[in-house]
Amino acid sequence: MTRLLDCVKLALELPGAPGPNPLAIRDQPAAPSAWEINFTGLFETPEQVRTIGFLGLVELAASSGYVDLAAWEGTPALIAAAGSFGESLGSARLDEPRLLGVRRLLARLNDPHAARPPLDQRAYANFESYLGLTRSVFDDPAAVEALIFTHSQWKPGADAAALLSPRHFAEALATDHVGAVRMRGFSGVPRCLEAIEWLVSLLERVRDRTDLHDVMLANARWSHAVWMLRERADEWAVAMSEWSAARDFEGEARWVEFRKRVFRPLDAAQRTLALDRSENVSVSPGLEDDPQVAWSIEVPPASIDARVAEMLAAGRDEAARRTLRVCARRLSARIDSGAPAYGITEVERLVALASRLAELGDADSAAAFVAPYLSMLQRSYAGGAVAAAALQLIAQSRRDELTQAHAADAPAERRRARTITRQAEEAEPVSRREAT
């Protein structure tokens, strides 16, 4: 029992006789505390939060076989105290999803025939690991601060200063500052991601024991409304993906895989048990159960020049290139649809976009976009400026290709150059639509 309390930084006082304060649970010295993460629509006082958390942990320990309440000397006092606590909440509140562990513990304590469960080594070890996870979260002030901030004051763009470049990011992560400005709740985010990954693996191991699975889910309060952390981390991923001119497709794929493996099952499980309400109302969960990462922005064609100029002024060169590629791709799709409304004018527009893209350093994508329409341009504009511009883009890409081929030793480099170009034009599966 001492270990349970120590892991969640609590000290327990059980009175000798029933009284007005049946169960006194105090924080051990530690600030901030993981108990301070607030979730919207909840009724609990801080004291109630701690009591609920501790009782849930006791239930988990008992059902895993980690503790034997029949043998613990404090059980009679715990029965009285837990009973009083349950009465003070009332039956309506006891039905709250987060109080699942409390309900089960009360039922267990009130069952005179409850026997020590047979040994389930996996459940025992799983709970032991859950204790270690809980301890690691409670012991990490940066992770706790990150969670508190995420569920209280974070809103899209709050981390932007730290995501401007690798240098800014490093400074924020290592010092909690960018320049002289404190980046609240920033440095602990990676550890939060590790923690939820760990939690998901534990939940997976007890997927066939709903008694353990659901109580653990409810008890891991620090992980609730995980979709909010996902929203925040998605911003990180998109911003970080813009750091390099050579797009990090592998990195993007890793993030997508992490979301699928970790966030998706946890989010779904929390929604099922109504554990997905965050106090932070500046962000809404949205309608999609599993939104994809918006690696690029889709901008209406009329706005694209202005939008690209804004991005370049902010130093977001890769974002500008992606925006141009998305627009060019959409335009190509419309031209290829064969609809009468789309013809040579759209091809001209495409050449203009591609030229801009080449100016920003992506000659290969530019050439790839215009090459299929070269014949059309030459027929319509024989010797004209538009056709000439298209030819120039293709020639530039060819020269770059030859330059790379001479500079690089192996054919693999040439293949990689072609692959990057192909991926650049194919890989815009999702984009954000900006308001006009």
Partner: protein, 321 residues
């Protein structure tokens, strides 16, 4: 001869299967602890001579009153006692071969301290593990009411299982002990099992990205490169660093001394498992190490994390216990 190419000490007649002793305590000493498990619950390690360096370390002690084996897990840069080795306590509980093994999960400030300092502290802990395990390590960590281990009891075998930077720390500590005249029986009791060791150097940006939990994000290595300047301890882990060059030289010299003295050197030759998808560490062989088949479908971080479908780390340890 065991599969790792070195001989196992003979403490019982050939063919006799070792059985762990009966649970250490009668039921009335630990009414709230399960006595049908071979180990006590995972608990904080209370090392008597700790000066705040290993204070978050954990231990899972055998109920056997005189266990033969100790298994010491040492995490890498940015790791931690339980996060790095998360699935091992559970797996070891299920291993019959580990029933009479005390298990230690060391936790140390890997990102803030040089290899030399980490190794210096590890050396002191290893000395106690070899010469005074009961008095200085185990007895204070046992549950209250448990019969303490006797003063004369020693481990017959100590496995040092390390990941990444942990391998460098362990090697350095052992080489320093070797120079401080470790006794031959003590040296013979030690064995090394390394996962993705960094003893030939590492790509610092990737090491930082992996150690700080950034590897799932795009641009991780760019972030790692920028972060290198904030962690001075990393200088030791760069390929070609003074610390690593010295490590290799000292290892070769120590093996030469052993060879000249016709003494065993298994404690200087690690069993190494690299991960195929590891982008962090240099995978060249260190001195005369034993290189096992690389681990498929795993990277630097996941190489040391078994799960339901990936049992290799457990199996590699199990077959040597």
């Amino acid at each position: 001869m065991a599969k790792d190419g070195v001989s196992k000490p003979r403490h019982r007649p050939r063919g006799q299967r070792h059985k762990p002793e009966a649970p250490a305590a009668p039921a009335d000493e630990h009414p709230d602890l399960r006595d049908d498990l071979s180990h006590f619950p995972l608990a904080s390690l209370r090392w008597r001579r700790d000066e705040g360096f290993f204070s978050s370390s954990q231990t899972m002690l055998s109920r056997d009153r005189a266990p033969r084996t100790a298994i010491v897990f040492v995490h890498g840069w940015g790791g931690s006692a339980l996060a790095t080795w998360e699935a091992f306590p559970s797996a070891l509980r299920e291993l019959r071969e580990a029933a009479d093994a005390d298990v230690f999960f060391l936790d140390y400030p890997s990102t803030k301290t040089s290899v030399a300092v980490c190794a210096g502290e590890a050396r002191e802990l290893l000395l106690d593990l070899l010469r005074a395990p009961g008095k200085n390590l185990v007895n204070a960590s046992l549950p209250d009411g448990t019969t303490p281990r006797s003063e004369g009891w020693r481990y017959a075998r100590i496995w040092l299982v390390a990941h990444s930077m942990g391998a460098v720390v362990v090697r350095r500590a052992l080489l320093d002990l070797d120079r401080a005249a470790l006794g031959a029986p003590e040296a013979e009791s030690l064995r090394l099992l390394f996962f993705a060791p960094a003893h030939r150097g590492s790509s610092l940006p990737h090491l930082v990205a992996s150690g700080l939990g950034l590897e799932w994000l795009p641009g991780a290595s760019l972030a790692g490169r920028a972060l290198v300047t904030y962690y001075r301890s990393l200088a030791d882990l760069e390929q070609g660093s003074t610390a690593l060059n010295l490590l290799l030289e000292d290892s070769k010299a120590a093996r030469e001394r052993r060879k000249a003295a016709r003494a065993a050197d298994a404690d200087l030759r690690a069993i190494v498992l690299h991960a195929r998808d590891d982008k962090v560490v240099v995978q060249d062989r260190f001195d005369d190490d034993i290189e096992e088949r690389p681990i498929a479908y795993r990277n630097h971080r996941s190489a040391s994390k078994p799960d339901e479908s990936y049992r290799r780390p457990i199996d590699e340890l199990r077959k040597r216990l």
